[in-house]
């Protein structure tokens, strides 16, 4: 029987806009297919072992919370997290979690906050927040003909991608990474970063299944593909927003 081990990083601190919904979507879609799943909360002071997890989730937080975990992240978790990224562990990093994976976050005051540096992107803070519904297109998203992903963004940082990192998708509606270049999120190895919460995974099951498939393929050589599920309600929710935002 297959088994997937999920690490929820700083669940007590990075859990701002319904981030737990992403964990819940992973759990349910694994369970519905009879795949065992375990979720391990890893917070301040807890060790993070780079080989223990198949999927790592990092959510968003307010500046206040990010301040609290900053020392632990850089002193205790930087090395093993970078190792996990390099060895192909599947990551989903949303909003603040996305920013933390990059090189630095420069506040609007000019102060530069060092981040993990596991990926080559950086974020610059602005006074004006980029807030609203977000629709973007992920090329090659299986099981979903239009490849459109629906969410909600709310960030004051603008993120820019450097060499080696590719955008996760193209913005169709909303701001995305910075509201300037038309891209949303970032991809590096098996790391998926996005500004989209809402929650992202429950209403975009094709993306959820992509993460699960990658994790299973990496862990089990004999794994071929996921059993399809009835995603009628999810499709209706997505359609409702796409119709309203784009086709109106």
């Amino acid at each position: 029987m297959y088994e997937i081990s999920i690490c929820h990083l700083y669940p007590d601190l990075l859990n701002l806009y319904g981030d737990y919904g992403n964990i819940q979507a992973l759990i349910r879609r694994l369970e519905w297919r009879g795949i065992n799943v375990q979720v391990h909360p890893v917070s301040i002071g807890d060790p993070f072992s780079p080989d223990s997890y198949d999927i790592v989730f990092i959510g968003g937080g307010q500046n206040y919370e990010q301040d609290i975990l900053h020392k632990d992240l850089l002193k205790q978790k930087k090395k093993p997290l970078t190792e996990a990224v390099e060895n192909g562990t599947v990551f989903l990093c949303i909003c603040g979690g996305y920013q933390l994976m990059g090189k630095y976050y420069k506040l609007s005051s000019g102060t530069e906050i060092e981040c993990l540096g596991a990926m080559n992107h950086w974020t610059i803070g602005y006074e004006k927040r980029l807030t609203g519904n977000l629709v973007f297109k992920i090329e090659g998203l299986k099981q979903q003909s239009d490849s459109l992903v629906v969410g909600f963004e709310n960030h004051s940082g603008k993120t820019y991608l450097g060499d080696g990192v590719t955008p996760l998708g193209k913005v169709v509606y909303g701001y995305g990474n910075n509201g300037e270049d038309g891209y949303e999120g970032a991809r590096y190895k098996n790391v998926f970063c996005s500004y989209s919460h809402g929650s992202l995974l429950p209403k975009n099951p094709a993306l959820t299944d992509e993460l699960i498939t990658l994790a299973l393929k990496r862990k089990y050589r004999d794994f071929v593909s996921l059993q399809p599920l009835n995603d009628k309600i999810e499709a209706m929710a997505r359609e409702n927003m796409i119709k309203r935002l784009i086709r109106s």
């Binding site: 601190l13 859990n15 737990y20 919904g21 819940q24 927040r129 807030t131 709310n154 309600i233």
Partner: protein, 467 residues
């Protein structure tokens, strides 16, 4: 000459404001903010000028403003105090101005000398530039509409700024909420705290605490240690770093002898003696609202007898557990605004002892919060565990489908979820699903409440919401 022009402008503003209120009501809309907005255009200082004649009581905080105001209102009534209140829940500055204009005489003097005003957290800061309440009651701070406020702490900071503008205001603060209690630190104001003792059976299980709004000290960022929790981040906390801790409450609840689907009995301890009271509204979180109101009564030195009477008979606000009998069935409307509020409502539903139907009405207009991801911050476990009691769950409103997805991922059987965006059709179907003696719980977001209230009013002849 300048003075005369100023006076003329004031009278014009009052006259036009009153006229606008009158016209709006005739037209059948509440007109609860618009008249104030026009009056402020004509005479920007209107709140200061007419507000100075009133003894003002303000209530702010994330949840419980309206219910606390309704209880205080009843307490004022029992004590024969003439008051005016913003009953409609229009709690931005324009709403406060509208309320005062509706009461003030044309020459600018109050006809009811006490004003009971619930105020939006951010609006309080603005209002405090013009008027200073005699008493400010703060209920709590939870994450709420972050698309509008940005971060949770900005709400706390707004209220703090307003307090710094009002150094003579007596503060009535929820000491069990570390964010709320922080307002009482380093201020010159007289401060009175209220709280709940550690009551066996009410302590919140320490499961995954999704609402980590205040796990860490606001002052020094160490993790709080809790002696007990009542719900969410409320309870008896202490910071091991700087020593900031739950202040000793002057008014506190020591026992809860009964809690039913209709009312709660609580033993309330005050410096002037202890007494038992029935709170005419179910739900654990309403105990806190009652406690806030009782503490207010204590500040004003009202007799316990009258407070007890008020607690037993106050009318809950528009859409706040408002009950509507329909033949041999019942409808209860409970406004949902944010994760903590909805989690508490679900906890309340788990105490209902007859099968029922739920309808979630989720809109994403500006007043609701345009971001609906808060639905994923809600603990739906109680709902999952009482599926045998739920005859059907309807999902309605602009984001009905998203609500259905949320329920699906909470582990609710999808066969039992019906998406119905047409309100009259939903209402008929829901009522038809019920047997005699059972209740339909309608849980709308703010603008969905306005919609469903209109329909219910038409069908069942209810009061207007501003009354």
């Amino acid at each position: 000459m300048k003075r005369i022009i100023k006076l003329l402008r004031l009278y014009t503003a009052l006259f036009i404001g009153k006229l606008a209120i009158y016209v709006c009501r005739i037209a059948g809309s509440g007109g609860t903010s618009f008249p104030g907005r026009i009056a402020m255009k004509i005479y920007p200082e209107i709140l200061r000028t007419i507000g100075s004649g009133y003894r003002i009581i303000m209530i702010t905080g994330t949840n419980g403003k309206t219910t606390t105001a309704r209880i205080i209102e009843q307490i004022l009534r029992e004590n024969h105090i003439k008051y005016v209140a913003n009953k409609s829940g229009a709690n931005l500055v324009s709403g406060l101005v509208t309320t005062l204009i509706s009461d003030v005489r044309l020459k600018g003097t109050p006809s009811s000398p006490t004003a009971l005003l619930e105020v939006d957290e951010a609006a309080f800061k603005v209002a405090s530039k013009y008027v200073h309440p005699a008493v400010l009651v703060v209920t709590n701070f939870f994450r709420d509409q972050l698309d509008r406020y940005g971060e949770l702490f900005s709400a706390v900071e707004s209220v703090k700024e307003g307090i710094l503008n009002s150094p003579d205001t007596t503060l009535v603060l929820n000491g069990d909420d570390s964010l709320c209690a922080s307002l009482g630190r380093d201020v010159k104001n007289p401060v009175i705290y209220y709280g709940m003792d550690n009551i066996p059976g009410f302590e919140e299980e320490n499961g995954i605490n999704l609402n980590n709004d205040a796990s860490y000290c606001l002052f020094c960022k160490n993790k709080y240690e809790y002696l007990y929790r009542t719900y969410s981040h409320l309870g008896s906390y202490k910071c091991p770093g700087c020593g900031f801790q739950r202040p000793e409450p002057l008014v506190h609840i020591s026992r809860v002898p009964a809690m039913t689907g209709e009312f709660t009995t609580a033993v309330i301890n005050t410096p002037s003696g202890n007494f038992e009271a029935n709170i005419n509204l179910p739900g654990f979180y309403n105990i806190y609202n009652a406690l806030a109101a009782v503490t207010f009564a204590e500040v004003l030195g009202f007799s316990h007898d009258k407070t007890v009477k008020a607690l037993a008979c106050f009318e809950s606000g528009f859409g706040r557990m408002e009950s509507i009998p329909v033949d041999d069935k019942n409808i209860q409307v409970i406004l949902i605004k944010n994760p903590t509020g909805l989690s508490q409502v679900l906890k309340y539903l788990s105490t209902v002892d007859r099968p029922f139907v739920i309808c979630f009405m989720i809109n994403d207009n500006t007043a609701d919060g345009t971001d609906i991801s808060w639905l994923y911050d809600v603990d739906f476990e109680p709902l999952k565990n009482m599926q045998n009691m739920i005859r059907r769950i309807f999902a309605s409103g602009i984001r009905a489908e998203d609500m259905a997805v949320r329920l699906k991922y909470a582990g609710i059987f999808t066969d039992n979820i019906v998406i119905e965006k047409n309100n009259p059709a939903m209402l008929d179907a829901a009522l038809n699903t019920l047997n005699a003696g059972e209740t339909l719980f309608i849980l709308p977001t703010y603008t969905a409440l306005l919609d469903i209230r209109k329909l219910l009013k038409k069908r069942f002849d209810l009061k207007n919401f501003w009354q």
